[in-house]
């Protein structure tokens, strides 16, 4: 025992008080009273935090109780085999059921009819110009109102230089220029932070596409060389499309789903 653990040393040599175990037991037994007192007394933000914590604790408690009860009740075992169960030597094969074949055929036909883009967010709210642009008053007496400030997040390419300030109509502030997006792979369920290559299409207006404005539902092209994908022919895939799934101007970051 280390030299300065006086309490433990004393306990080792002389043991505990005669009523120590009793007191511990009683203290523990009283704990539920303290909990209920706190639950009643706490108000305001503290009360909310406490209630939330308590709720999750209760959920856990109920789960364990239910699990215990399951053990207690005895059920007769019926010799039903769960559906889809296979003997071990057949496990590697991927069986396609009849229904699955049919549904995949139907989906294929529909895709061909609908068009090339089959995206996760088919419909998005259109952004009006009033939303996306803000009038910037210029001139000595602040009367000229032909300049516009972009209020949404945008992407400008590498090597982008502004037009001379006197002539630029659309001002894209530096704070709202983003270079990276958080892209989720839908099957792997993993998210990567990938650099943006360009804005492919903004569903609201082609003007936004040319300006590089990124809103919810925009298709962007991202650099996936990090993922190390390879085509059939052995070539390395380095760019893929992704669709933006959040409102970047509210969250401060671009979240997208990869279109595979």
């Amino acid at each position: 025992m280390p030299q300065n653990e006086h309490i433990e040393l004393f306990q080792k040599r002389y043991g505990f008080r005669m009523d120590y175990q009793e007191r511990q037991r009683k203290k523990k037994a009283r704990e539920h009273k303290l909990q209920s007192k706190m639950a009643q007394k706490l108000i305001g933000i503290k009360g909310k935090i406490f209630a939330k914590k308590r709720y999750s604790e209760k959920v856990q408690l109920k789960r364990t109780i239910k699990a215990h009860e399951e053990k207690k009740t005895r059920k007769k075992e019926d010799g039903k085999v769960p559906e889809g169960a296979m003997p071990a030597y057949l496990l590697d094969r991927e069986n396609t059921s009849q229904a699955k074949l049919l549904s995949s055929m139907v989906k294929q036909k529909r895709k061909e009819k609908a068009g090339k883009w089959d995206v996760p967010l088919p419909k998005v709210r259109a952004q009006s110009e009033a939303e996306v642009f803000r009038v910037l008053k210029t001139g000595k007496s602040r009367r000229k109102g032909w300049k516009r400030l972009v209020t949404k997040v945008c992407f400008v390419g590498e090597g982008f230089t502004r037009k001379p300030p006197k002539y630029e109509r659309f001002v894209r502030p530096m704070a709202l220029r983003f270079k990276k997006a958080h892209v989720t792979h839908p099957e792997l369920k993993a998210t990567f932070c990938l650099p943006i290559v360009g804005v492919k299409k903004n569903p609201s207006s082609p003007m936004y596409t040319s300006l590089g404005v990124i809103t919810k539902g925009t298709i962007i092209e991202v650099n996936v060389s990090e993922l190390g994908l390879v085509t059939q022919g052995g070539k390395v895939v380095w760019g893929k499309y992704a669709q933006v799934t959040n409102n970047p101007e509210n969250d401060g970051c671009i979240n997208a789903i990869l279109l595979v």
Partner: protein
């Protein structure tokens, strides 16, 4: 240890950290904002929150970073010890992670503050602030592991014994179970556990002892086994670290009775293997457990090994911690050796000349050649020789040591009584009388003499008291005084009884029927005053109200002609006063008494001064719950 504690108070878990910072942000920044405020005000509001959270996180994390000691800045002994105990790499990594988190949080805050400048609605600004705080919280959540590790390190670090690496130290090492901890228990007050199993001592222990009016540190190490350095476990590595870095006198303890489970050959082999660590340090080999087997009783091969030490100029000493022989000698020898070693080192260093220049031992020069010894008269010398050698009286302690188990303390053996009376048991009472009263054989004679003396005194009138003759007046006064005393006592007791219970008391105005004529009459009659004569009386029976006659309302005027209200209770300034002149006199006296106070200009009840009309703690701050409309 002064260099090496982590000074933090308890370091927090990551969840607590987040909770604390977020609740602090909520409390210390303004909470109210509306849609209709100017957009710049809304932006400022949310930017403030983001910045505040960032600052709080930054402060807390940087205190953690500064409080933990940097392994490069502390004494190499402690650096090595910490490496052994906590793994230097892990430690540095954990602190590095915290540092990274710090920078990440700063960056997040910067980005979001920049974004907030372009927020054009309350909703957007609020979402951005939520995103910012959320991101900072996520960064902190990832640090849970590091924080937990650092908390454990901090706790363990605060419990390390305080070893000063620069002072005089004795270091005790050797195989497990040879008796190192027993030795340190004997010379210091360190209460180290001693048990028969190996590796009882699992960490370094410190004790302090004194020698030559100086304080010495004694460090006890866990036992070391004989295998190469790479195979050593954490416990042994602590001992090695201590050996390597502390400049101390080394006491290598060996068990010559081989009760520890290792032969003398093995112990000598261990000595040889750790010999490089003993360079430049005064060394002492101590043979312990000599109560079981002495050095002379060993067989020649083992003796030869021990002789090998002596040949190498390493002093070998015997001791037994069980019987305590030789323990003090070992300690003295080790201390002396270390002291001389340290002095040598100091002399060799350059600082010595500066000190030596200032030291000068002055010896008086002899004036002439004749010696002047101490003068003892011849007679005294003769007497001393006559007396012979001093006979040492035998003490009880000596007797106890001699007789050992048979000894019992007998206080009655030196009594000055004849032998058969010495051990008699004497009772305290007999036949209803105290024996102590009769112990003296001449006690009756003494009593008779005393009585005779007393008679003589009484006859001569020493005890005559002068009885004064009191005349009637004085007698009367005495009697009255007695009565007054009695009455006072009764009133005091009644008052005390009356005050008890805490029953509700009617206010003075409500006590109507207290002062009545009948009461007056009875009290005065008790005192002996004749109350039958009514004509010259100032009191009269109060009129009793009857239902037939309506009360005649007239203005009541008191003797001074002032009209008073129809309350029955006399006001306070009249209640004790008999007539008008006395009232005037009382008023005058009252005014006079106040004059002095006024003249001194002392502050009275009306002169209370309030320094601060609006103390800040009453007029500012948020309420925990509720509105702040009323203050």
């Amino acid at each position: 240890m002064s260099s090496c504690t982590a000074k933090t108070n308890v370091s927090l878990t990551s969840q607590d950290f987040i909770d604390i910072v977020l609740s602090k942000t909520q409390r210390k920044t303004p909470t109210v904002v509306h849609k209709q405020y100017k957009i710049s005000r809304i932006r400022q509001f949310y930017m403030r929150k983001v910045k505040f959270s960032q600052q709080t996180f930054h402060d807390k994390l940087s205190t953690i970073l500064t409080d933990f000691p940097k392994l490069d800045d502390i004494h190499p002994f402690y650096a090595d010890l910490m490496n052994v105990l906590y793994d230097k790499d892990h430690y540095k990594l954990a602190l590095g992670q915290i540092n990274i988190a710090l920078h990440l949080i700063d960056n997040v805050s910067k980005d979001y503050v920049r974004l907030l400048k372009y927020g054009d609605s309350l909703y957007r600004c609020k979402q951005l602030k939520k995103a910012a705080l959320g991101r900072m919280a996520t960064i902190m959540k990832r640090q849970a592991q590091s924080l937990q590790y650092l908390e454990q390190v901090r706790q363990h670090l605060s419990r390390l014994p305080s070893i000063d690496p620069n002072t005089r130290t004795l270091l005790i090492c050797g195989f497990p179970n040879v008796g190192k901890s027993s030795f340190i228990n004997k010379i210091t007050r360190a209460d180290v556990e001693v048990q028969p199993y190996a590796f009882t001592t699992k960490s370094l222990f410190v004790g302090h002892t004194d020698h030559r009016y100086l304080r010495w540190q004694v460090v006890d190490t866990p036992g070391i086994l004989d295998h190469p350095l790479e195979d050593r476990n954490t416990i042994e590595m602590q001992a090695i670290a201590a050996l390597a870095h502390l400049r101390a006198a080394i006491l290598y303890v060996m068990d010559i009775s081989e009760q520890c489970g290792h032969t003398i050959e093995q112990q000598v082999a261990l000595f040889e293997s750790i010999k490089p660590l003993f360079a430049n340090k005064p060394l002492l080999v101590v043979l312990n457990k000599t109560d079981v087997i002495r050095l002379e009783e060993l067989n020649p091969e083992q003796k030869a090994l021990i002789q090998g030490f002596i040949n190498d100029d390493i002093p070998v000493m015997e001791m037994s911690t069980f019987s305590e022989e030789g323990v003090m000698n070992v300690k003295t020898e080790a201390c002396e050796r270390l002291l001389s070693h340290r002095i040598e080192v100091k002399i060799k260093s350059k600082k010595v000349e500066g000190i030596l220049n200032r030291l000068h031992v002055a010896l008086p020069k002899p004036r002439d050649g004749c010696t002047r010894p101490a003068f003892v008269p011849e007679k005294v010398i003769e007497k001393r020789l006559e007396k012979g050698p001093k006979i040492k009286k035998k003490t009880e302690r000596d007797l106890e040591v001699e007789l050992e188990d048979d000894y019992s303390l007998d206080l009655k053996k030196n009594y000055d009584l004849p032998a058969d009376f010495k051990y008699d048991v004497i009772p305290e009472f007999w036949e209803g009388k105290n024996i102590a009263d009769y112990i003296d054989p001449d006690i009756m004679a003494k009593l008779e003499e005393l009585e005779r003396e007393e008679e003589l005194r009484v006859e001569s009138g020493v005890y005559e008291k002068e009885e004064e003759e009191m005349d009637d007046e004085e007698k009367e006064i005495h009697r009255l005084a007695g009565k007054i005393r009695e009455k006072k006592a009764i009133i005091a007791i009644e008052g005390r009884i009356g005050r008890s219970g805490g029953a509700p008391v009617m206010p003075r105005a409500g006590r109507k029927r207290e002062r009545s004529v009948s009461r007056l009459r009875s009290e005065f009659e008790e005192l002996g005053v004749d109350m039958s004569n009514k004509s010259g009386a100032h009191f009269s029976r109060t009129k009793s109200r009857s239902a037939s006659r309506p009360p005649i309302k007239k203005a009541r005027a008191d003797s001074a002609g002032r009209v008073s209200s129809s309350s029955r209770v006399t006001p306070r300034d009249q209640s004790g006063i008999r007539n008008v002149e006395l009232k005037a006199k009382a008023k005058k006296m009252g005014h006079k008494a106040q004059g002095k106070m006024n003249q001194f200009g002392k502050a009275g009840e009306a002169d209370r001064h309030i320094a601060v009309k609006m103390p800040r703690h009453l007029y500012s701050g948020k309420r925990g719950i509720g509105k702040t409309d009323r203050r």
